[in-house]
Amino acid sequence: MIKKSLYLCAFLAATCLPEMLIAQDSTQAEVAAVALETAAEATTALDSGNTAWMLTATVLVLFMTLPGLALFYGGLVRSRNVLSVLMHCFAIACLASVLWIAILYTMAFATGTSGWLGGFEHIGLKGINIDSMAGDFPETIFIMFQMTFAIITPGLIVGAFVERMKFSAILLFTALWLVLVYAPVTYWVWGGGWLFENGVIDLAGGIVVHATAGISALLLAKMLGPRDGFPNKLHVPHHPAMVMIGASMLWVGWFGFNAGSQLAANGNAGMTMLVTHISAAVASLTWMCLEWRINGKPGLVGIVTGMVAGLATITPASGNVGPLGAVCLGFLAGVVCYFACGIVKNKLKIDDSLDVFAVHGVGGIMGTILVAVFGTAVFGGTGVDDMVQQLSIQVKAVGAVVLWSIIATFVIVMICKFTTGLRVTEEVENTGLDQSEHGETAYQFE
C-alpha cells in the first residue's frame, strides 16, 4: 500500500514536470499571506489575543468534523449504516492528523522550490519548536489550525460513498488523496504556490476545501456505482434530528473556519464572522422557501442543507464581501445548490449519496468565482479592484484545481480498486456496514 503510493507520487511528479517548468517563471511568494517565518526569522512578538483566538478557532474547526460533520452525515443514512459513517469520519480525522505532521504540512506550507509543491524542510515537523512563530502567534497553532482543514476536507468526501465502500479502501483513498490532491492544492493557493502568486482569492477554502472535495466526491461516487435501490428505492434519512445537531455544530464551528482564517482577532475576523452568518441564514431561508413552494412542506433536513450550502458558498469570499454580498451569495447558494441536488441525481444519475458535490462543490466553486463580483466596492466588498481580471484568475484557479482533482482522484480510485477493492459485497450492503464491517449495532433499545 505504501509502496504503491510512493510509486504513484513518482509518477505524478514526472507528469507535473513540464508544467512545473512553465510555472518556474513566477517568482517565489515574497511575503506569504500566511506568513510562516521559521523561528529563526520570527521577529513579530506574540499577541496573546490572536493566539487565544487561534487556539479557539482550531478547537471549533475540529468540532466541525468531530462530531459535527459525522452527525450531519450519520443521520442521513439508514440506521444500519450510521456507525460506519461515524467511523469513517473519525478514522479519517486520525489518519489525516498523522499524515499532516508526517508530510502534508511541509508539502503544503514549507517554502517550495517551485510554485507546485512546498519544500520538505518540516517533514515530521522537523524544526518546529515552542518558539516557532506564524506571524504573531505560535506556529504550532498554525499547524493545528491547518490540520483541522486537512481533517474535514476528506471527511466531506465521506458523503459520496456512504453505505457501500470498503473501510480499507476508504483509508487508502484518504491517504493518497491527501498527499496527491489536498497538500498540493493547499500549497498552490495558501502556501505561496502558483495560484497564490497569481493573486487568487480564497479565504477559507472554496477551492482548497470545497471544490477539491466536491469534485473528487462526484467522481468517486460515479466510479463506485450507486447504492442498491438508487434512485427510486432508497430509504429516508433515519434520524433527521441527528442531521440537525451536526449541522448546528457545523454552523458554530464554521466561525472558527472562516473568521479563524483571518489568523487574528481583529476587524477582518469580525466582518468575516458577520458575512458568514448572514450567508448561512439567508441560504437556509431560501432553501426552506423553495421546498415549501415546490414540495408543499418545509423540512428540517432541507433548511439545514441550505445552511451548509450558504456556508460553503461564502467560505472563499468571506474575507472580501460585505453584508450585501453575503445576502446575495446566501440567496444564490440556496437556489443553485437546491437545484444542483436534483440535477446530480436525476440528470447525471450519480449516487453522490449525501450531495457532497451539489452542496459543497457547487457552493464552493460558485463562491470562489463570485467573490470577484461581490468583493468589489460596488457591493460593499473590499479587496477586489478589477473585477474582470479577478474573475479570470478565479476561474483559472477553479479550472486548474478541478482538473487536477479529477485526474488524481481517478488514479487513486483505480489504485484502490486493484489493491483493497472498492465496494463491499451485496450481502454486506444488505446487512449493513455497522454489523458487517465494524461488528457493532447502532441502537439497542430494549
Partner: protein
C-alpha cells in the same frame, strides 16, 4: 377463548383501551407495527429527491377474551377506533386453545 388482534391508528390506542375496559377486558398487549393496505404510504422529499414510505405506523392490540365477551369486545374496539377515514384498520379473531397466568398458574378463563 379467543385472541382478538386489532390493528388501529396509533393515536386511537388510549380510546380503544378505555373502550375495552368498559366491557370488562382489562388485559391487553400492544405492539408498534407498520401497516400496508389501501391507505397508501406517503413520499418524503429530501433535497429534491422523493423517497417512498410504503408503510404507515399502526398499533396492534392483542387481547385474549372469553368466548362470550368476544362480540362486545370487537364492537367496542370498532367503535373506539373508527374515524371513518381510510386506514382505520382491522380486527381479527383467532381461536385460543389454552391460557395460563404465569404468576399463579391459573389456567384458561381464570388466567385472563
Amino acid at each position: 377463548m379467543k385472541l382478538i388482534k386489532a390493528i388501529v391508528k396509533p393515536f386511537k390506542l388510549d380510546d380503544v383501551k378505555d373502550a375495552l375496559a368498559e366491557v370488562g377486558v382489562a388485559g391487553l398487549t400492544v405492539t408498534e407495527v407498520k401497516g400496508f393496505g389501501r391507505q397508501k404510504g406517503h413520499t418524503e422529499i429530501y433535497r429534491g429527491s422523493e423517497y417512498t414510505v410504503d408503510f404507515l405506523p399502526k398499533t396492534m392490540i392483542e387481547t385474549v377474551v372469553d368466548d362470550d365477551t368476544v362480540e362486545q369486545a370487537v364492537a367496542a374496539i370498532v367503535k373506539a377506533a373508527k374515524t371513518g377515514k381510510i386506514g382505520d384498520g382491522k380486527v381479527f379473531v383467532l381461536p385460543i386453545e389454552s391460557a395460563i397466568r404465569i404468576r399463579t398458574e391459573e389456567t384458561d378463563g381464570e388466567a385472563l
